[in-house]
Symmetry: C2
């Protein structure tokens, strides 16, 4: 398969990349710079793509980020299980923006699919990580190009603990990934993303 991996630099997309490597796919990786909170993710993405030995494009979407500025600039309070807290991290329609651009590139380059690391742990707050979102989006992609680019989303019904277990099994460089919303030198251990990762690692 010829696969374009949406690589955030976090755990989930890194495991996806390592699955594609293990399958012997032709791979290109794509990341997006839109003024996100966790900019350290982008540095992690570059390091991880280099380690994987795959072509990696970082697409600047600063002006899209500007349109979302009041969302992106809202401070994220600590605490994982409070919906209202986690909702402050929602960037409206982010996955559709990422997938549409990655799929464009796939169509232009004759690639077969776009891979994304969405998993079931994201569903409750991030509606664009659910099958109800991916299924019609796949149909829209199939309608607009003869190649019928697939959205590969193997973890859409799996918990994050399964993603991490697969990553360990495949030898994915989880130690290089970045999760924390804070973007400081070391993970804060308190934000929703840190707590979720810690819980999944212990399962």
């Amino acid at each position: 398969m010829k696969t374009i991996v949406i690589l955030s630099g976090g755990v989930d997309s890194t495991v996806i990349l390592w699955r594609c490597l293990a399958s012997g796919d032709d791979i290109k990786a794509i990341s997006f710079d839109y003024g996100q909170r966790h900019r350290k993710e982008l540095i992690a993405a570059r390091t991880i793509a280099e380690l994987a030995g795959v072509e990696h494009k970082v697409v600047r979407l600063n002006q899209w980020g500007d349109l979302m500025r009041h969302v992106l600039l809202t401070p994220v309070p600590h605490g994982h299980h409070e919906d209202e807290v986690q909702k402050t991290t929602v960037v409206p329609n982010r996955n559709m923006v990422f997938i549409s651009i990655a799929a464009s590139w796939a169509m232009a380059e004759g690639y077969d699919r776009v891979a994304i690391g969405a998993h079931a742990g994201d569903h409750h707050i991030y509606h664009d990580c659910r099958e109800e979102f991916f299924a019609p989006l796949s149909l829209a992609l199939a309608a607009c190009d003869e190649r019928k680019i697939d959205i590969w989303r193997p973890y859409v019904r799996s918990p994050k603990s399964e993603v991490i277990a697969d990553g360990r099994h495949l030898g994915a460089p989880l130690e290089l990934t970045w999760t924390c919303y804070e973007g400081r030198e070391v993970p804060c251990g308190k934000c929703g993303a840190c707590v979720e990762r810690e819980e999944a690692e212990c399962q």
Copy 2:
């Protein structure tokens, strides 16, 4: 209604904008700068948005354009009715990229819908101007946000001549719009876009 109009600076999106003005909508307009062939469209879009008195954002997507560079840089031969000629103007998945970003903005701003000037004359070559594309994309948008942003596409089953007739009826500034693929001082009158517009104006 609160509507975000995808404004290319061409005839179709200008007529859509004037329909929204006539309906008394709250309107924002959005254009995209991705290194397109007809850059004069962007100047036209700015002039038209100013005339309409609506907020207008131009989102730079240069790096997305770079990914499409071999598509965007292919010279467009003249002649409207030759499929192979017209196909050189297809930018893969362009409408999904535009709609996804416009819909993000709509979600962030509490707007109801994204309006696009796709019409039936575009269907044959531009697959992302067909209802088979818009219908599932609408479902994907509805799945990812509680506001269920609509894609308003009133001309999806109409010929371009109907768009132009409506524009004249509404007093839309068709004389300010830009159609030609060549981007010179005056329209070439020979490229597919010029020929199609001329045919539609005479119907």
